[in-house]
Symmetry: D2
Subunit: 367 residues, 4 copies
């Protein structure tokens, strides 16, 4: 009943604090024979690495991942894989003030109320640095998926920054890697840059909405009830720091649809597989994948570490004002994109293994 793990058969337990010696992930249930090395995982880590442009924290964290176990001569052995990332650039002094004050909107106060002790340096365990371990584990999951089910593509991107939504009519996959916001809309990228520059200079921050899509997921993955594919995706995304909402397919907007409008009509495709007239379901019906794109969105709240003064209290209960200096992300949603991709990869792999285990090839054919 590990409360610091996620996944069923493919199980990831992350550990480590922002300013401890290291952080990492213990990954259990890895299929054997998967070709993987540190470089393959580093590729994904570098995408969330801070300090790459002016829109993310200027902390210099090389985030070099080491594989300490479970890989032999370039292949996974089927035993647990330990992924470790050393913490380097740690200006603890930046955090001295928050040792006594609780940042509004931050976990400072709840960690204290729960545990009676907390590592206040950089948020300790509640720091978004924890997500580096997820991204490393997600890279391992991607390698395993490529080995077991080639053709599954997982892609994340931002669809909204603050009040500004991208224009779906301009959706362009090729744009995603072309701008610092991973937004598939060149014009939005430009507008958002201006918006975020002004916000950053004012010492404020803002939220965002990230969408993650998995293409090529076979039909039949998911385990009702309660290990539904959408249930596990909702838990995976909501477990990411600062996430306040999760949507599958139509998400909250499904409330506004009639049954007639919401029902994705079914036809037979030329390849003998079912095709759908639409994908309101986000690729999941009854907790099981349909074979369509699996579409998940999540909202990331603005970081609470800002230069705007806010009213708060100290551990001893005195009223005070707080301004959080230090180097923080004006929009943490940007770096949440590779994290969302990683969680998607872990959940899809987990359910692929679960399906192999309980069902094997018993699934039903159509036609």
């Amino acid at each position: 009943m590990s409360l610091n793990s996620f996944g069923h058969l493919f199980r990831v337990a992350t550990w480590g604090e922002s300013h401890g010696p290291a952080l990492g992930a213990t990954v259990d249930g890895v299929p054997p024979g998967v070709a993987v090395d540190a470089g393959m995982l580093q590729h994904w880590l570098d995408r969330r690495k801070p300090g790459q442009n002016r829109y993310t924290t200027q902390r210099q964290e090389p985030d070099q991942v080491e594989i300490l176990s479970g890989v032999f001569e370039g292949k996974t052995t089927g035993t647990s894989v330990q992924l470790m990332i050393r913490n380097t650039d740690q200006r603890s002094k930046d955090y001295s003030e928050i040792a006594e004050k609780f940042r509004p909107g931050h976990a400072d106060i709840t960690y204290w109320q729960k545990y009676g002790i907390r590592d206040y340096r950089g948020g300790g365990r509640s720091s978004a640095r924890e997500t580096a371990a997820r991204v490393a584990a997600g890279g391992l999951a991607r390698a395993a998926l490529d080995h077991l089910a080639p053709g599954i593509e997982i892609k994340g991107y931002m669809v909204q920054m603050g009040p500004h939504k991208m224009n779906r009519d301009r959706f362009d996959w090729d744009q995603i890697e072309q701008n610092p916001f991973w937004v598939p809309d060149a014009q939005a990228a430009g507008d958002w840059a201006d918006y975020l520059d002004a916000l950053r200079k004012s010492g404020n921050s803002v939220g965002a909405v990230v969408e993650v899509v998995a293409r090529g997921v076979p039909a039949g993955l998911g385990a009702p009830i309660y290990g539904k594919l959408d249930t596990d995706l909702a838990a995976a995304m909501m477990s990411i720091n600062a996430v306040k909402g999760v949507e599958i397919g139509e998400g909250m907007a499904a409330a506004e649809l009639t049954g007639e409008a919401n029902a994705d009509e079914i036809f037979m495709g030329n390849d003998g597989q079912p095709v759908y007239s639409s994908n309101h379901a986000g690729g999941i019906l009854g907790g099981i994948s349909t074979g369509q794109d699996v579409v998940v969105r999540f909202a990331v709240k603005p970081t609470s570490s800002i230069l705007k003064p806010r009213q708060t209290i100290t551990k001893s209960g005195e009223a005070t004002e707080i301004i959080t200096k230090g180097r923080h992300d004006p929009c943490v949603g940007i770096r949440a994109v590779p994290v969302g991709e990683a969680m998607m990869a872990c959940v899809i792999l987990d359910h692929l293994l679960l399906h192999r285990g309980q069902i094997g090839d018993a699934g039903g054919k159509i036609g």
Copy 2:
């Protein structure tokens, strides 16, 4: 790794199909000495019972719960509690057509693709009847909460039906039990009645948004990372049939806020407990409860069993049209209200027990 269970220490495994002999819940980790009887659980079950007004299915399901284990002389013994509900009114003939055709927007096709066999009668395991077992287990969780932490109040209500949102300025707790929609807004109740009447007569259905609030939850509940209170709530709500989105506090709207606007400022209350200027966080920071109201919302899609003809295919892959006769809910969101309450009760109790186990009284005081 039960995929048919939820919860950690307080663990609920539901079982049963819509048209099998019975369905129920096996509840593990129940604290001993809790006063409970079938009547107390029946109270909650009756709230989701169909056929109570013209806005829910006219199926007659008495949904009588029996306690088969774990209770002795009116008190829980600490051993597993088995809650069983016999299935009665079963017009299997109503479902003969869908044995061969897949309802668009329904789990028919994915269950077939996953398992190669399915109990098509009334949706079998994918039927919303499964939620009756959740409500019974939720009643048990409420009794345990009253025993261990008196004063926690859990209340669910609808805030949106189709495109029609309630008016928060008219929010009135006393209205919730006064209308068939459990909406805390008398005017909305009237408008929705007209809207749903028309929709029902047209053989269509519609979605809804349900909000569930837990008041009096102590600060410190939740287990980062990944057994966060919000993570478990997101999983619990997303696991409910037809749910497509889950929000905590501001939810998806958090994306539009600045850090300055989102940060709930902290003050000391007269009772020596922290108070907050607002509750954008929905009572949870860093996955741990703050002591404010825990606020969760979820969107329920419209039922896919409608009288509107839709294009689909048969098991043999032939194109066809389907109209789902039978007695279906025009808005399943209505009956999702007591289900959401039940899930909230189970999750809060589970985390209360987890906190007692790992933390005990080590939590930090303020002031």
Copy 3:
């Protein structure tokens, strides 16, 4: 983290008390398409049914199992299977005395100390009646094994009653079903009958050693570390009422062997599979099956419900003497045989599913 379940992917949660309305097992992770009906499960239940000869309790318990979910038209659907056994012959008055007194060697006192409440009727949850649910679940596991891996044979038998051990030189499989003790040694069966008759008449009871063998288990099952095949078998057997010791292969006697004597030498068989010169390992090396017979033994202590007077105390702490009337097994080891078989079947199936899930066909060939 259900504490009332065992298994990983194939997961069994038993519930119910000796004198409640019913007891049963909620079985999760059942593969779909397995042909099974109540009669097939009843076959195994009848083997542990009491009152079949003078060596077991004379309680009349028909132990009729009902399948309430997860089976449709004679086949498993892949959803949870609920197995229920109604309690019938319940002479609660027989147990009135032990409501206040603690039986030495029984769970009476520990259940009271743990829970502060207990169902004293027939031992409540601590009654060996709970094992009926295990046998029903084991029958389901056997059916799934026959479906997925035909040729696995699981057989249990007694090898020792009190101080009397069977003679291995007379080992005869065909004898097992020929005597009330399931001992593969006709002469031992006769001797034990005389011994147990005398013991029973004196109002005493005695322990036993049961051995369970699984033949035809493929090499490669088991998940080091800690889901080893032997670890899970040890837990499964130790969880049976009254079991105090578990052995794999040589068991405790392995301590007396030298490395030279203990090492089962390896050769190639005519079928291209490895063969071994001996099976000190009991078919398990490093927690993984070798393909040899999986051999487990467990010791069952004598029942503590005897007619011999013993010194004890009451709930109020007063010294007293107790004689337990009622109809008890003089040697509970006899009825533990089918229970041990059931646990073996569940563990083997669970690890077969786990292996399919994580490993698939990645296992290594020899030659």
Copy 4:
């Protein structure tokens, strides 16, 4: 469903191979506020460190443990604790031969058959080096027990080496730390020294029986069924490398007792707590602790890495002979003593936390 973890609330996942860069344990569910540092854990690690006398392998492994997370300013924070031990002295060449040959009695062949790949250097994951991580985690569990339930003492010792059993009449606690075998019998220590010297010189090895006792464990710990205290202890001990049998209290000998002899009679002690005339139960009744000493024994088979030639096969299936050079323990049971203590500490702590969580102070009083 981590298969590389043990424990429920206090959960330990070990990772690492014998000749990888490092190995360790990820420990979840640690209570906060526990004073601990690397030195405290090192104390226990040093007890199992090899090369301390001529009866253990002469490998030089400093086994220095590092705490990478979960401890801040000398106290546990309640977040996951990562314990890492770097591998140093690695003469991989010693193991070159076994890359192609399977050692009889060793996991070489089963790892290959399961995974199709294995780290053959020093046994990789199947190496007893893995137990170093357990001992480190056990040290953490001891510190938590001292913090939460002072007065619990956990002690392990050898009671048998090969055919030679200690003499219980000479049992002397003070002797345990006085001899290389941790045997509480000075005369046995001398005899065993001579016996093992001869065995070692002959290139052979031998098994042993280890007993672990926990004193001061409160009554009421354990969670029937299936998280029984004895079930979890059996699993914990059987999961240790080379263990083939586990006993609680009388263990296998319980089979020889009558109910009259086996029933530990109950009396009231002067302190108002129950006392027992004997402890055949090993401190556990119905899976729940009685308050008496918890007594567990386990048998360790002889190491299969010996200088005696044995017949075996190669990966390609050719018959061959093998002699395992290198520096191996003539009796691995010696170093299993601190490992058994560590497992006992982890299980007791886990059940203490579980009891706090589900039961709190609801337990029943006597008198």
